[in-house]
């Protein structure tokens, strides 16, 4: 505690320049550091590149860093595995659904599997993206990130990019299982058909086998899966936009569930409105605003066509994909505009 041999005496009328010097050296004594050693050490380590890292206004490398970190973060979420597992179970389980003919079997398999992919990827897009920004703000991790030379728009792009990568992984996993199941069933049916028609003329057998192949695994499924992915990306972008002004994950998820249902119904509602009220310019503007706020998700639903074995024309695919990209771009830009002005 006190040192009995030391006495402190305070007196008036003394200049204090020496006191400043002694205070300064006292700092070094108190910290137990040797200024000379520290200077040398730091000089050796910091001279070559202090502030020599050139700043770029736009850096794909920074975006990629945030993107991969977001993917790591999301793949650690239990909800990702639950949703993926449910999707995979549903696809695998569709094999055991009732069937009367191979056409019906393939139709049910495609219907259930593509439907499961669409629903679970949409849910994953909403649930995974909703937490990204509010969680970073709540944990104050965002302060450390944005205090680095990282523009806010890059941060958003990185977060969205991570979510889109997660969706890509989920859809790839579900597609791989779906296509494998379809391939296995198709071969099973082909073998059975070939066995049953062993005594039939070759031409008739070929026609039957062709019919099986046409309704089984074919390239027409690829654009349908691509559109399911684009729809999930659209929902992720819209969720990101909502989360820029939402304060909690729950609020964002609730709003997005609402948007999801409205988005699936708005196409029908629009047609009914136009039919009943005509198409004057006020109606058109109103419908355009509604269509922007609530994307026409039904336009992205190609599952029924795919299940029935209808090929998706390239033009239709291109239009729907372009519509999806447009929505994604608009929502991302809107998220950027709101987030850039947000007080953190």
């Amino acid at each position: 505690m006190s040192d009995p041999s030391q006495t402190s005496t305070r007196t008036d009328s003394v200049p204090n320049s020496s006191a400043i010097e002694s205070e300064s050296s006292a700092v070094h004594r108190a910290s137990g550091s040797d200024p000379k050693t520290l200077t040398n050490r730091s000089a050796a380590s910091s001279t070559p590149s202090r502030n020599s890292f050139g700043y770029r206004r736009f850096s794909p490398r920074r975006i990629a860093t945030i993107c991969t970190n977001t993917l790591t973060e999301l793949t650690r979420l239990k909800v990702f595995y639950f949703l993926l597992l449910f999707g995979l179970l549903l696809i695998a389980g569709s094999v055991f659904l009732a069937r009367f003919s191979f056409q019906q079997e393939f139709q049910i398999l495609k219907d259930v599997s593509l439907g499961a992919m669409s629903i679970f990827s949409s849910l994953l897009a909403i649930v995974a993206t909703a937490r990204l920004i509010p969680q970073d703000i709540e944990d104050r991790t965002i302060y450390s990130i944005l205090a680095k030379p990282v523009p806010r728009f890059e941060y958003l792009l990185g977060r969205l990019g991570g979510a889109l990568l997660l969706l890509a992984i989920a859809i790839l996993a579900m597609s791989a299982l779906f296509l494998t199941v379809l391939y296995v069933r198709e071969h099973s049916v082909l073998n059975e058909t070939a066995r049953q028609m062993a005594s039939a003329p070759a031409e008739q057998t070929n026609q039957a086998l062709q019919a099986v192949r046409a309704s089984g695994l074919n390239p027409d499924l690829v654009p349908v899966i691509a559109i399911i992915y684009i729809k999930a990306c659209l929902l992720a972008a819209l969720t990101l936009f909502v989360s820029t002004f939402a304060t909690t994950n729950i609020f964002t998820v609730m709003v997005m569930v609402f948007v999801y249902f409205i988005g699936h119904l708005q196409g029908t509602a629009r047609e009914y409105w136009l039919h009943e009220h005509g198409a004057d310019w006020i109606t058109r503007v109103f419908l355009a605003v509604v269509a922007l706020l609530f994307p026409d998700l039904q336009a992205f639903n190609l599952v029924d066509d795919a299940a029935l074995g209808h090929a998706i024309p390239l033009m239709i695919f291109g239009k729907i994909a372009a519509l999806g990209m447009f929505y994604i771009a608009v929502y991302t830009a809107m998220a950027g505009a709101v987030f850039s002005a947000k007080e953190l």
Partner: protein, 285 residues
């Protein structure tokens, strides 16, 4: 044109309350200037506007009026942050990352990569004493360790200016002492440090200059010594001085027109006692 590391001019920040219920004035007409190489303390009670000021300087919050500059560059420009390292209050990082991954993440955000980044990570982990916990996830870190990894991420890109928001908040005295020592070492290295703190004893020990805020307004500002030294008074610490000598000194002081204001036993600080006691205990184990 200014040579200041940080320049704050007539800064005002007013937060409007929802539903037009009025507004909260967080900062009003604040002027501060931090010179390069200084350790500058921003002091004040809770709600005095310290954190708001730091957030505005970092571009996290927009000012209602006034300007903030970092090395003569508008601090709202993202490019100004190349020169800045920031440690937020009670930092929280991605807990699924290890210390090394965390530093790599922040290093890459700062434009570093490759061998330069790897060697900088190793160097910083050594500086903050976390080399042994390099591969541990941050979810297993104590508060003091999180604070140290926070300091390391703030330093990763060798910033010229370090902004620390309550750097020793919630850290035990030993950890707090280490952070203070590190700040002094960084100062010796020529780094400018702007910090906010509630711990006045530590601030007094490390700061060259301080600003005291109260209800968003600057109430005192200046060199620490100018602000706290008592005009015309000097403390003289004597060792092994016999009572007669003390009497003679006091008599001489009185004779020459001075006045002995106070005479008291020298003491250690409680912090010093705590550090010595806990160090001995640790040593015994």
């Amino acid at each position: 044109m200014s040579n200041a590391a940080v320049l704050v001019r007539r800064l005002t920040k007013i937060y409007p309350l929802p539903f037009r219920r009025g507004s909260v004035e967080a900062v009003r007409d604040l002027d501060i200037e931090v010179s390069p190489g200084q350790v500058y303390g921003l002091l004040g009670p809770n709600g005095s506007g310290k954190s708001t000021t730091l957030k505005i300087i970092l571009g996290l919050v927009n000012p209602t009026s006034g300007e903030t500059r970092i090395f003569d560059q508008d601090s709202r420009e993202v490019a100004s942050r190349v020169a800045v390292g920031f440690l937020p209050e009670n930092p929280y990082f991605y807990k699924y990352l290890t210390a090394e991954e965390t530093l790599r993440f922040f290093g890459r955000l700062s434009g570093m990569h490759g061998t330069a980044l790897r060697s900088r990570i190793t160097e910083l982990l050594e500086v903050v004493g976390l080399t042994g916990a390099r591969d541990r996830r941050l979810s297993t870190y104590s508060k003091g360790m999180l604070q140290r990894i926070g300091l390391a991420q703030a330093l990763i890109h060798r910033p010229q200016l370090l902004i620390l928001d309550e750097p020793t908040a919630g850290v035990d005295p030993a950890g707090s002492r280490e952070i203070c020592e590190l700040i002094v070492r960084l100062k010796n290295d020529g780094i400018t440090i702007l910090l906010s703190s509630h711990l006045l004893a530590q601030t007094q020990e490390i700061c060259d200059r301080v600003a005291i805020l109260s209800q968003g307004r600057l109430v005192r500002e200046g060199s620490l010594m100018d602000l706290i030294s008592r005009r015309g008074q000097l403390e003289l610490v004597l060792e092994n001085a016999p009572a007669e000598l003390l009497k003679e000194v006091e008599a001489l002081v009185t004779l020459r027109g001075g006045r002995v204001v106070e005479r008291r036993q020298s003491t250690n600080s409680l912090e010093q006692l705590f550090l010595e006691a806990t160090a001995k205990r640790t040593g015994q184990k």
